[in-house]
Symmetry: C2
Subunit: 476 residues, 2 copies
């Protein structure tokens, strides 16, 4: 039990008994959610006054007989909600404005219930970290200031306010020099890909080259709209441009900053080769910049678009920073495609809903998105480190590929392992993991894609330990 | 000046001088906005205490030398914001919770500045009446309760919560018996039309019949996706089904509840003929139910879909009740089209953003939307009445067509008038009005479409008076 000083100078003992915390009432698989909720209630109903210092995580974990990681994670979540802060001495205390602030408690949705799979497969961010309060504040500002015209039929290309915000954001973060008039707001990366595929098809281009392995979701979208896809091998330097040049393709979809799923970066000479191919062939390079916000060891490579704006269609979204559910992405296309793309968007649905666009513009302009991204980067890096450590410990004989970036990593398995079978066995054991084969067109060496974004380190470690046992990678 | 009793029982004199209202500071063309803002500030900063009775509109208008309508409209807007209420005696007073409520002041965007056109052309609702506070409360509830999964990639068909809410709503309001599994959430009516046109085209159906006159916006969308459109005449009983049957068309887009732009209702025998045509031809009737929420004289006719769910695609949206900017609509299609439509939506953009869908479901389930609609219906009916009166007064020799419904009315002009020229002259005089010719394919008698939704009666009257003078319909 900690002995601490309240803001008014009196001493107060605080610990699990003070909070009436009874670990026996905690559900067996939702202890983090339970503890977070108990503490949140105590803070918001005033039981824990502003300035009250909480026990060290080790101490509270001991008293409650829960893992220390459970307490750490509960403190982290409440910190994000603005209810807890770290004080000068490194301790955790109730924020000064916690009780009266308009903080929005996040529910605890990401703790899998016994019936659900623990999903370590998808390259999604920690959605429990979606900045709900900040988003709501932005919506409020938007709704207070939006004109009636802004609630009417909007610009199919996207609201000017968001396009301006994105132009600045992309200039800062990706080295892209495109004015707001060149940016097309899309319904996520899929919305951009589908528009582009349709416009290409209208021009008589019915095929496209894609990376192999590559994102299966994008492959399925292109496969819906086009007749032929040419799989192009990917090696440790990224797309094999020589193999691309042997096909008839006049368009290619690539992930140069962080190849999905291998995690490699397109090497400088390959970048040059690729742009030379586009120049010589009159071809189009479609750059899916899906997770470039997450580079943990250095500044991400510049967008390919910056080097050849008339040969490259740049596509990205904030699905990996905020939430896929927002369905907001963008596209910057060569001049000769721009008008057809905007017209296709108009004919499809008149453009994206205005309110979320305006709220996002507000988040960017106010610097909130940048701050949120910094905090996400730290958290995801910590999770990546934990996943890497657990893989080295429990998946012996396996190899991690790719750079320190993104929300997933690729584990290369020993040659004899059937990754699809292994994923099926993992599913029986209660968690979902994607086999590399699911993202391949031509057969190739086995692997597993580990999406660490949504999971705190203890959960990742537990999942990977189980995976090691299932795959018999861990020595008994 | 009124003499009134404060809640504490003391008397207080209140009037324009008490409020320090100086009409000289009001902008010449934005007096309603100015007055609303002055009163709002006085209420929210406590100058006007809860329970304080305001002067009668006639009195305040006299003191300020403004039109009485200006005061009435300011009171109305503040009433909608929850800042003013009508007391037992019919007077207006400051709401009890006004000062402390979380009311969200609507800005005053719909008063045209001298440089802007007064737009009486579009069939849009009063967007200054968008229930901003209610929407924000719904968003807050959604963000407090949404699971992480709900922030991830959603169901392309629409979130189950919204589809369930819509199924109940459509059963109550339109007599439609379709389960949530049959409803497809779309990006407004345009999103539905474009999906449908594409799926028909995939099936080899490249033409469609449309009403003439009919909504030009829909015509342009269909024209983008299909090869041939067959214009079918509309008379006072609606679509001429005999003329439809003479074409090769296997699909027809109609507005049975309130034809756009003529305002007529499809007559009972025409409904039967149309469904018989569909049955005999194996044809598809596309029912655009765009404004059926607004019928002022009686209950709207049942949706056509209710009579023949396997022959009718029902399409609608809440653009006319909430705001076009939401881009949320829905579609219910015959069984054999359903899967292709959902798959097309998946391939287009993976479906609509989740948050607005969940917020809308909340508004429906809580009854907020129903209440909002009741208030809109009253307001729009009042505006329609004002427009009708002004047309009878200032547009002599012209005739109003259609039933008391919707957000627009059609004025038939004397045969010799060129409606396009008249609209052009009106634009020079500072307001936008649509000529009937703009919604025609084949030539026909002239008319003007008057969208009264966004405009308070005094503004409508002034606009129509000007129009009467421009068209020389008003005797000098």
């Amino acid at each position: 039990m900690d002995c601490l000083i309240e803001p008014n100078g009196s001493y107060q003992m605080i610990g699990s008994d003070f909070l009436n915390l009874d670990p026996a009432t905690a559900p067996p698989r939702g202890r983090t959610a339970w503890l977070t909720q108990q503490l949140r209630t105590a803070i918001t109903d005033g039981t824990l006054a502003p300035g009250t210092r909480l026990p060290a995580s080790r101490v509270l974990a001991g008293e409650l007989s829960v893992a220390r990681g459970t307490v750490v994670e509960a403190y982290r979540r409440l910190g994000e909600e603005g209810l807890l802060v770290t004080n000068h001495g490194g301790g955790t205390e109730v924020a000064a404005l916690a009780a009266t602030s308009a903080s929005l408690p996040n529910p605890e949705p990401d703790e899998p219930t016994p019936k659900e799979l623990l999903n370590i497969s998808a390259g999604v961010p920690d959605l429990s970290g979606f900045p709900r309060a900040a988003w709501l504040r932005a919506e409020r500002r938007v709704l207070t200031t939006a004109t009636a015209a802004e609630l009417g039929y909007a610009d199919p290309q996207g609201t000017p306010r968001l396009r301006t915000a994105l132009a600045n954001w992309l200039a800062r973060s990706r080295g892209i020099t495109a004015g707001p008039e060149q940016i097309i707001v899309t319904a996520g990366v899929t919305g951009a890909l589908s528009l582009l595929a349709q416009v290409l098809r209208d021009q008589g281009i019915t095929d496209c080259a894609i990376e192999d392995p590559g994102a299966d979701g994008n492959r399925r979208i292109l496969d819906y709209w086009l007749d032929t896809l040419h799989p192009i091998p990917v090696d440790s330097a990224g797309l094999d441009v020589t193999a691309l040049a042997r096909t008839d393709a006049r368009a290619v979809l690539v992930t140069p900053a962080h190849q999905f799923p291998t995690g490699v970066v397109l090497a400088p000479d390959r970048r040059r080769e690729l742009l030379a191919w586009a120049e010589a062939r009159g071809g189009l390079v479609v750059e899916d910049d899906y997770d470039s916000e997450y580079r943990y060891d250095r500044t991400p490579v510049r967008a390919l678009h910056a080097a050849a704006p008339e040969r490259v269609v740049h596509i990205s979204s904030l699905s990996k920073v905020l939430a896929p559910a927002l369905r907001i992405g963008w596209m910057i296309a060569p001049t000769d495609l721009h008008d057809d793309l905007v017209r296709k968007r108009w004919a499809t649905d008149l453009g994206s809903p205005a309110l979320p666009q305006l709220a996002l513009a507000d988040l960017i302009d106010s610097g909130t998105l940048e701050r949120h991204l910094r905090s996400l980067r730290l958290r995801h890096r910590e999770r990546r480190d934990a996943a890497v450590a657990a893989i080295r410990r429990y998946l012996l004989g396996c190899r991690i590929e790719g750079v320190a970036a993104g929300l997933h990593l690729l584990v290369r398995l020993p040659e004899h392992v059937d990754d699809t079978m292994l994923a099926a066995r993992a599913e029986e054991a209660g968690f979902a993991v994607q086999p590399l084969s699911a993202h391949r067109i031509s057969p190739g060496p086995p692997g597993l894609i580990i999406g660490y974004g949504p999971h705190p380190p203890p959960r990742l470690e537990a999942a990977l330990q189980t995976l090691g046992a299932i795959g018999r990678f861990t020595p008994a």
